[in-house]
Amino acid sequence: MPSLPLLLSQAFNGLALGTLLALVSSGLTIILGTLGVLNFAHGALFMVGAYAIFVVAAATGSFVVGLLVGAVIMLAVGVMLERVLIRFFYDRPHEDQILVTFGAAIVIVEAVRAVFGGESQRVAAPDWGGGVTQLGFLIYPTYRLELIGIVAALLFALYVVLYRTSIGLVVRAGIEDARTVGILGINVRRAFLLVFAIGVVAAGVAGMLYAPIVSVDPDMGATFMVESFVVIVIGGLGSYPGAVVGGLIAGEILSITSAFNAAYSEVMLYAVMALLLVVRPQGLLGSEGRV
């Protein structure tokens, strides 16, 4: 049995990982829910985010500038990807959409490898994120605490956009029935572009925030993407709250299990998914019969 401080610190690690997974997964799930496209390039875009901050933060010396410029870069990447490739696939079968995004992922990963090489890079944590913080019951790295706060704020902002604005209303209506929204005279395609770009930015920003606590390499996105697939299977396909709840659950499963035996942490995550598929196939917050 692991000690209480270890468990506590793992619970915090789970929270940090969970919020990040929630951010990546919410990008994946709003794209899936609105456009009906399962974006296999999501992990690659997460990795692009990490490289964006690696370059910009090194050039400007500021993590915050890196984040902002990086977000703009991700927006541009998202818009470009949608315009050049994805939009031609809205009416094609799901299998084709999966294949084309999977192909895009290969191209993105290999292009990054061609430019930066395959070796892993380090991104320094910002000065305001250095050191550790005394929580009274636990000493914890400051950057990870800030990370939890920043991602929580981003998730809340995404919630406000999706649930409290008229654009969000169009997006959520588009999830229900894109055709009808189109018939009502609303430009669904523009909403689709916006949703895709927001989803890409979410993945990219997650990659940027994650960069200082891991090593950055071209293949870093793959595992994260599969985990975010598990998150949306757990949370429910196309459900934004499901992605957030699923992300937190997945983060805690991974971290708490590794406090007991690190070898089983990933396996436990998939075991929980398998169990859930038997007991509640539509996911925790998903509705039956969708997608």
């Binding site: 999977f102 290969i106 061609a114 990933e266």
Partner: protein, 605 residues
Amino acid sequence: MTPATAVPELLLAVVLIAAPFTLPYAGGSIDMLQRILDWGIIGLGFDLLFGATGLLSFGQAAFYGTGGFVAAYLLVNNVIGSVWLALLIGTGLGGLFGLFVGVLAVRRIGIYFAMITLAFGQMAYFLENSPLSAYTGGENGLPGVPVPTIGGMRIEPGIPLYWVLAAIFFAGFVLARRILHSPFGAILRAIKENALRTGLVGHSVPAYKLAVFVIAALYAALAGGLLGVFQGYMPPDAFALDTSGQLVVQTIIGGVGTLIGPTVGATVWLYLHDNLQLIPGVGALWRLILGLIFVGLVVGLRRGIAGQIGAWLQRRMSVVERPDDAAPVDAPREPAMALPMIAPLSRADADAPALCAIELSKHYGGLHAVEHVSFSVREGSIHGVIGPNGAGKSTLFKLLKDEVPPTSGEVRLFGRRITGLGPARTAQLGIAKSNQLNQLFLELTVRQNLRIAALARSRGTFRLDLLRAAGSIPAVERQIEAVLDTMGLAHHADAPVHVLPYGEKRRTEIGIALATGPNVLLLDEPLAGMSPAERVTTRALIRELAQSRTLVIVEHDMDAVFELAERITVLYDGRLLADGAPEQISRDQSVQDAYLGGLHEYEPA
């Protein structure tokens, strides 16, 4: 669907025999050839799964790795001496793992299926890497896998082992091709074209998907076992996500649905991998180049290399039958032949009506599409169901066939409760339905469309008849001919359905229902979209069909309904408005009001 020629087998044999003598002079090697064939064996199963059935799995590495590591573990630790037995056990366990993943994955379509298979692939990878690393060697893999023996003679690595692999690959190809052309394979294709209709005519779609998933897992597991044997070492990356991804890429590049496509794709991949890497400056970019080719293929040329060559050969060599203008565009002819049909269900009660709805209700949220509807249909009669648009007629039909579960109430067929059995089982019991909107297998020919339906009748909801030819069941072929003749489709029997004019598509729709040999036939707006001439003959056909079976018809053509039906049920706003003989109905004041739109007391507030 019969494998008409053995040409592909012969060609393959020639290539397999010639390859080791030629490829080494063109930048290849025996080792490369072995790897190509190993990928090709997984590919055979994967193409049955994805190419034939349309199920895109990203988790084949799980079965590849399982088969490989089980066999390698047994051999390296001297648990089992015989390489062949170890391969057999590894393959079997890989298939078992496939059964487990398949049970969870096949109930879900498209997106879900890809995600779940991918996730289980990763689960297997992590299992191999940590908890089971004591058995699998973790990141080191398992070295020292022995070579097999035949009759006490060691098969040495290199050329001798190549022949063994080539023989196994050849056998695997022949088997896969037989499966593709069997009744089982015909149903896989039907599932890819239209899973809904495949279920409606009486096949258990989940059972077929699960079966093909396990078959694909067995192929992958066998290939995994062979990998360890011919390399003398079982590498851990067999389980990696990249393995599943590489298989998908190779299949698309080589050609989906061609069986040999994945092998062709593997040849391209491994050839580029081995040769481009030697070129300075290009070496590191070879995956990028392949990625771009892959995206290009998905966007544009979707056939892949083998598919493109196959299509070109087909254009060159065969005269494609298409419906030409010279062919007589005849409507269904006056049917004289009595169509064979399923023996009527043994009835619970001799006086029970053919079909009986009892207090049927269906609510969609707050919408009460059907509300407390009861009526019965006398055996051998034509029963009409009418009502204004939105009255709940189509929903009622779906309830009668148990296509959707009712909120309350039940349906009885010859006195036996069928509610809850689902559309496939009810089809087996003798209810068929032609749909308001065509549900056809568009890429298949008319004959193949009818065969899917006729096969359900003779084979039950599921049968694993992998080796016989699809067109080799005489009773099925007779049934198809009878339906072709009855529906006036014989002249276009071998044309793909998507090229037919609308009226003939409509007749194919009815023909599919008829080909299941039902004794209760539900026709949802059979005359919709037909020309006046076709309407006349279809009405004659309906009358003829009623000689031998029970018909229930939803139709907007009032003249037709009042002329044909012995009894008419009128629905309005989901409720039963009237039920009686045509003369009664035509005199009924509430029915007249409903059709004139003046039904004040029934109008929702």
